[in-house]
Amino acid sequence: MPADYAETPFASGYEFTEGSGYDLPEYPFEAPPEIASGEVSHHPIVIVGAGLAGLTMACSLARYGVPAVLLDEDNTVGAKGASSRGICYTQRSLEIFERLGVYDRIAAKGIQWSVGRTFAGADEIYSFDLRQQSNYNLSSQPPFINIQQFYIEGYLVERLAELGRVQLRWKNRVTGFRQDGECATLTVATPAGEYRMRADHVIDATGAHSPLRGWVGASVTAKKGDDRWCIADVRFSRRPPVERHTWIEAPFNDNRAVWQHLMADNVWRIDYQMAPDSDPVAVSRESVVRERLARQFGADCEVEIVWVGPYAYRSECIDRMRHGRVFFMGDAAKVVSPFGARGGNTGVSDADNLAWKLAAVMKGRADPALLDSYHQERHEAALQNVQVTNRTSSFLRPQPGPQKLFRDAVIGLARQHAFARPLVNTGRMAIANPYTRSSACDRTGGQPVQNVGFGWADGSMGTVNDLLAWAEGRLLLLVFGDTSAQALQRLAAVTQTMPVRAVQVVGTEDAPMAVEHVLDPKGHLQGACHVFGHAWALVRPDSYVAATGESIDTTLVHSIGRALGLQDETARPPADVHGPRVGAEPPSFEAPREEAA
C-alpha cells in the first residue's frame, strides 16, 4: 500500500444532501507502481470490483492478515447516478459486518424495522413482527437493518484503510484476462495508462455484467421475465409508519404490486410494479412518478424525489462458481429479483465463505482442495436463492390463466382463513443458507451459527463473534458439558497439532475443567450450535458448524481434517500447518465412541 494512502481524508462527504441525489465520496486515483516500473507484478489475490461483495472479501482477508489487491473501475461507492441499490441487510450480514468492525456505524446510520404488512386492495391480509419470532431474538444483531448500500460500502472502504494489507486501486478497469497452470494474468486500464499483473487467485466481484464470465467461458442458467418495476427513492413532508408495507394489488397502481420501505436519512423506497410492456423511459419520467406518488400518498403530501430508476427483473446463475483460478461471487455469480433481499446479502455470505478458506490455504493451515467447497456450498445457496425468488416472482407477476387464477384463490382465502396467509408470497427474507452437500462439512454440520451471547469465565459477556476473533481464522471447537481428564488430554493433542482452538462450554450443572472455558447458563450457545447434552461442535471462521459429535475421538479428528479440505483417511494436515512443529503427527485415537468425553 502506498505510504500516503492511509492519510487520505476519508471524510464523511456522502451524507444525504438537500435537493436531489446523493453526494457520494470520490476516492483518489494513484498511478499503480507497475506503470512507472513497466514490470508485471505478482499478487496472491486480486479482487475485481469494489462493490459490496468485493469490499466484504477485501475486508475479511485484511482481517485474517492476508494481502490482496482490490481493483475498481470507478472512484466512488454506490453507482454513478447515485442510486442506492440494496437497502435491506439481514441479521446474518450484520453479524458478518460486526466481525469486520463496521456494524456499529451501520446500526447508528440505518433504520431497524420488524413489522411488515401485506395488503390486497384496501385490506390488510397478512402481517408479521420479526421481534415475535424467537429465532431472531438471540443474536446480538437485529433481524434487519435498512440502509443505503453505498453507506456500507463507504464504511468498508474506510475500514480497509485502517486494517491495511489490501491495496484499493480506484479507476483500475480490467480489460483483459487469461490463466494457465502457473497464474492468471490481468490487463488493467487506468487514467495513467495500461499495465499487467499476475495473480494466483482472482475474485470476480464485478457484478451482473461480469466480463470475466465471458473470458473464462462460464456457462450461465438464466430465466428472463417480463416483470418491470420503477423504483423511486423519496422523502416526504408527512412520514409513513416505520414498517414495511407491501401491496400485492394496489388500487393506486392499477392493481399491480407496490413496495414501501424506509432507509437512512428519512428516505423511503417505493417500488412500483409496471405493466409488462411498459416503456422504461416513460414510467420513470419525473412527472409520471410524481403523479403515481400523489395517488398513493395524497396530492397534499410534499415529495422530494431523490432517485428514480426502471428495472427489468430476471434471474441468472452461473453453473460453476470456480473456473480455475477465478472465483465468482455476488451478482457476478447470480442475479435475482430483489424480493427477500437475496442479492446483496448472499454476496456478503459468498465473500465470508471464501475469505477464510483462502486465508487458511495461504497460511498453510488448509489444503488447497478446501477451495473447491466454495462452489459446492455457495452454488447450493445460489440455486436455493434463485428458486425462492423465482417463486415470489411467479406470485407477484402471475401469467394470465392458471397462475392468476390460483393467486386469486390464495388472496381470497387469505382474507377469510389464517392458514392461507403464509401462501401469500411477497418475498421470503434471505437466510444463512445451510450446506447439505459440501465436501468440507460432515452430515452433522453445514448449519449457520447465530451470534448469540455467553459469559466469559470472569462473568463478563461475550458473543460467538468474540470467540471467532479469539480463534484468529482457525477452527473453533466448542466442547459442551463435563469433560474427563482423558478427553482433555486428547483435546490438548488436537489443539497442539491442528489449527484448532478449543474451549469448554459449561452450563449450570457442569464443572469447568479446561483452562479455556466459557459459561452458557441459558444454553444459547449450545442451541446456536445445534447440539444437545454432552457434545462438541466444530465451528468455522464463517460461523458455520462443520461437524458435531459426542466424544473426543477419531471422528473429531476426521471432521477437522475434512473441514480443512483433507480428504485422506488419516486426516493428515499439510506439513507446514504447524509452523515450528513441522512433522508432528496428528493425534490418532482408538477410543471407542462409548468412552465418551
Binding site: L405, F406, D408, A409, V410, G412, L413, F419, A420, L423
Partner: protein, 61 residues
C-alpha cells in the same frame, strides 16, 4: 404415500355436493371455486410428499 384405495366415507354424497357447488356458476366462477377448493383440501393433507404425488397423478391425463 398417496392413497390409491377408496377412502371416502360417502363418495357419492361428495360428488353430488361438488356438482351442486358449481351449479349456476360461470366458467370463470367455476374455475375459481375449484382453485379455492384445491388449496383448502391441500391444506387438509399437508404432507409434502403426498401432495407432490397427487399433483403428478393428476397430471397423467
Amino acid at each position: 404415500m398417496m392413497k390409491t384405495n377408496f377412502h371416502f366415507q360417502d363418495g357419492d354424497a361428495f360428488y353430488e355436493q361438488l356438482l351442486q357447488a358449481h351449479e349456476g356458476l360461470t366458467r370463470e366462477q367455476s374455475e375459481l371455486l375449484n382453485a379455492r377448493l384445491i388449496i383448502l383440501l391441500a391444506n387438509q393433507v399437508g404432507d409434502a410428499r403426498v401432495l407432490k404425488e397427487c399433483i403428478e397423478a393428476a397430471g397423467r391425463l
